[in-house]
Every structure is written in structure tokens, then in C-alpha cells.
Symmetry: C2
Subunit: 220 residues, 2 copies
Amino acid sequence: MYYFFAEGVIIIEPKCISRVILKRLPIYLGYLKSLPNDAPPHISATTIANVLQMGEVQVRKDLAAVCDIGKPKIGYKVRDLIDELETFLGFKDMNDVIIVGAGKLGKALLSYEGFREYGLSIVAAFDVDDTVIGNMNSTKPIYHISKLSDLCQRMNIQIGIIAVPAESAQAICDYIIKCGIKAIMNFTPYLLKVPSDIIAHHVNIAASLALLSKQLSEQT
Amino acid sequence: MYYFFAEGVIIIEPKCISRVILKRLPIYLGYLKSLPNDAPPHISATTIANVLQMGEVQVRKDLAAVCDIGKPKIGYKVRDLIDELETFLGFKDMNDVIIVGAGKLGKALLSYEGFREYGLSIVAAFDVDDTVIGNMNSTKPIYHISKLSDLCQRMNIQIGIIAVPAESAQAICDYIIKCGIKAIMNFTPYLLKVPSDIIAHHVNIAASLALLSKQLSEQT
DNA sequence: AGTATATCGATATATATTTATCGATATAAC
DNA sequence: GTTATATCGATAAATATATATCGATATACT
Ligand SMILES: NC(=O)c1ccc[n+]([C@@H]2O[C@H](COP(=O)([O-])OP(=O)(O)OC[C@H]3O[C@@H](n4cnc5c(N)ncnc54)[C@H](O)[C@@H]3O)[C@@H](O)[C@H]2O)c1
Ligand SMILES: NC(=O)c1ccc[n+]([C@@H]2O[C@H](COP(=O)([O-])OP(=O)(O)OC[C@H]3O[C@@H](n4cnc5c(N)ncnc54)[C@H](O)[C@@H]3O)[C@@H](O)[C@H]2O)c1
């Protein structure tokens, strides 16, 4: 939170929401959406906190960041809350995504239907291997990498997933940035170097699993 | 960090390393391991910080948590540092892992060779679908779920990956806990409920990608 | 109507994490 | 040998995050 002082009055810049909160919002949303239709129309922060094993104050604070419809004794209207969360998180309008590398992981992602619920539309995958190019099992096309530039520019696609071997990751990264990609999710264990105006998010499944393993061994 | 006061003396409990630091350690390790063989044998926290775009004090503090071999003007001996990081993170001795759900994602993980470098050995996958059971493309076996209990108990496997449809996630979770699994990595968007002595880590790829998308749209 | 209670939002405190500062030290240059 | 400098570790300050407390309020109960 940034504070600006102007003529003695404190103006609080409301734009920025911390990354930690942002990561929790989809969890609340997921839980709310999992509630049965015959559940009561309102829910309290206390209930949410208990189910999700969080502090109730934290839940209230997180929710306050996106909505202001909590009523004492009643709680939040579930439908409104879902709506506000979805709107806030941008799940309501679709964002196009391309995948580079249609190997085992790339193909799994390409055919995964679950993205839609999060406002994401996987448009196509790109590869260099002629044996995977074309549309085999998935409903989504796999093109040669040479078609990437044209497609991204025509459709104004700004989000890319990298699922190529680690050795090619940086080259592909540089390339897709040149093609107009502005945000990258990288599944390779290679740490990408990107210009400051490009957002890169690294997902290292093996490292995460290893940390889980370490946690386990420490618990004893 | 916890502080205990005993007879006026402050005793600092050294056990706990924060999760944030733990997540960064594999990044340092990965970078150090990527250095060419003809690189100088020592490296400074300043250099690491610059390459990885982190604060140099943070790098020093993180490294101090696992080693104490930094020398002024010289820095850290790369080989020792790699060794200490790998030892600390437990990458040197193998931990067995099983996967439940040999669908698209499960099979990708099953055949992924990269886990070995992190001290992880994927032993087998389990499924209910007869058409995927047996060993097709991967070198690792896919068994019927009914074999899970026996294998886990015989090999004393404590780490499990859940890659079944979300609807089955909780049931599978309960089941593998009964079979002796103590740490779970869950790839379904369903938030698992586990007893307090079980570690569960949730990986929601779609939600992460959606947050990336949101970040992008906010950047403007 | 009056009171009890669940719940909210706000404020305050505690903890955790990041960033800055500074003296100490090992090497290199002179 | 002396001095300059890169670098470390430690301590301190700033920021961020989590938890606790408390008055206010909407409903339910008497
Ligand atoms: N498979 C997993 O479960 C898993 C888990 C964690 C991380 N990863 C990482 O994800 C990446 C992909 O893994 P995978 O198992 O799918 O590998 P894979 O070998 O099955 O697939 C890689 C694909 O990338 C293609 N490719 C290679 N160079 C390319 C280029 N320059 N441009 C476009 N396409 C190119 C290949 O033709 C291949 O189809 C790897 O970096 C791996 O480390 C995979
Ligand atoms: N595919 C992806 O890229 C992706 C991305 C993010 C999340 N996920 C999640 O991962 C999970 C698996 O995704 P997928 O694409 O591999 O789905 P999938 O349908 O390809 O595979 C699911 C597998 O689980 C098996 N299965 C079903 N019930 C089972 C049970 N009770 N016990 C054992 N096996 C059972 C099925 O036979 C099937 O082989 C889903 O929950 C999905 O939401 C997948």
C-alpha cells in the first residue's frame, strides 16, 4: 500500500492488491462455486475461514479488497460474491493463450478444458517436430512454429506458455516476445531473462515437489 | 524465527527456515549448476543477485541459512555451495513418489525424467481405466488402483501426486492417506481436506495462468 | 420494544519479510 | 607494509502480511 501526502490529506492509492491476496481469491471463488444450489444464499467470513482453514479476519480483509457487500449478522451474498470475484479476477472475459512445445506436457495443457472457467482460451500449440504437427487427439490445432508470429499478431495474443526442452527455453522466449507476447508462463526449469515490461512466471513442478518432500522429511 | 527467553539469555531456535526462502533456494541451485565448467570457482552474492534480479542482501541471507562459507572479497565457492544446497534440500537421496491418475497430465509427469535431479523418483502411476493400465509409452508402469496400497506399504512410499478428475480428488486423497501417503501434491482445482499431520500442496495451473493474465491486464 | 448474538469493518498489535547500513576481513595494488 | 576495495555477516529500518481486539449493526429471540 502506498501513501501519498497532498496538502495534509492522506490519499491512499487503492490500485495495488498484494500478490498474496491475489493468490487466495481464486481459492475463495472455487469454494463458493462448489457450494450446492440448495445452500443458504448468504455466507459468513467465519464459515469460509473454517472450511478453508484460514483466519477469519484474513478472509474478511481479502474479500474487502474486491467487494463491499458484507452485512453484519448475515455475511456475504454468495451469488454477488462469486460475481464480484469473477469480475475482479477477469474470469468473465476470455483471454487467448498459445503454447510453445507440443510434447507430453504441452499436449496435456492444450487439451485441458479447465482453463475456460478461468477466462482463458488456449488457441493453439506450436512445435518444430513434424510428427506432432497437425491435429491428432486434441480439438485444438498444433502448428509449425513458423506460423506463430502471424497468428499472434492477427489475433493479438499476448499470453504464452513455454513447454519446450529447457535448452530452447530462452530462444523461444526471446522469439515469442518479438511476436508480441507480453506475459509468459514457463514450465521449464530454466530461469528466463526477460525485459522489464514482460511478465514471466516460472512453474517448476519438480522443485515444488522436492520442497514438499523436504517438508515431509523435516516434520518427522 | 522464535525467541525463547531463559534466565535472561536469548536462545534462538534455528530449526525453522521460512517457506519463502525455501522456494528461492532451488533457484540459486539451478543457476549455480548452469554455470559453465570454466567459470571461476568462486561467486559473489552480488553477482548472483544481479543475474537473478534479486537483492544482494537477500541472496546473502538466504545462503547464510544453509551454509557459512562466504569469504569477504572472494564470495562463495561454487562447488561447495551447490553441494550444501543439494544436501540441505535433500536432492542427494532419492524419495519415491507415486501418481494417481494416468491421464494426460499424469502420463506427462510419469515419463518426465527431470524429477531425478531433484532427488525424486517416480515409481509408478495408478488408474482405474483398463485401457491406460499396463506400460505403453513410458518406461514407468501404470497399475490398477487396487495395487496401490500394497506397493506403497511394501516400498514405504509417502509422497503422492493426484492427477485424477476433480470429482474423485477427495476420495483418492482419503484413500492414499489410508495407504500410508503423508505428503500430497494435488493438481486438481479441488481444495483437499486433510488431517493436520498430512501435508497437502495445491497446484492450480489454470488459476496461476489466470493471475498472470490479470497482472498483464492491469499493467496497461 | 428490548436484549442477546453473530458478524462486519476498522484499528491496533504481532510477526514475517525485504531492504538499507555499517564495521570487519581477505585479497590486490602500490 | 600500507592502502584501497570487494565482499561478507550482523544489525537496524522499512515494508508487508497475519492476527487480535473492539465498537457498530442487522437479525433473532424474548
Ligand atoms: N512432462 C512433465 O511432466 C514436465 C514436468 C515439469 C517440467 N517439464 C518441463 O516442460 C518442458 C516440456 O516437457 P515435456 O515432457 O513436454 O517434453 P517433450 O520432450 O515431451 O516435449 C517438448 C516438445 O518441444 C518441442 N520443441 C523442441 N524444441 C522446440 C522449439 N525450438 N520450438 C518449438 N518446439 C520445440 C519438441 O518437438 C517436443 O514436442 C521441459 O522443459 C520440461 O523440463 C515437464
Ligand atoms: N491436463 C492438464 O493440463 C491439467 C492442467 C491443470 C489441472 N489439471 C487437472 O489434473 C487432473 C487430471 O487432468 P487430465 O487432463 O490428466 O485428465 P484425464 O481425464 O486425462 O485423466 C484423468 C485420469 O484419471 C483416471 N481416474 C479417474 N478416476 C480415478 C480414480 N478414482 N482412481 C484412479 N484414477 C482415476 C482416469 O481414468 C484418467 O486416466 C484434473 O483434475 C485436471 O483438472 C490438468
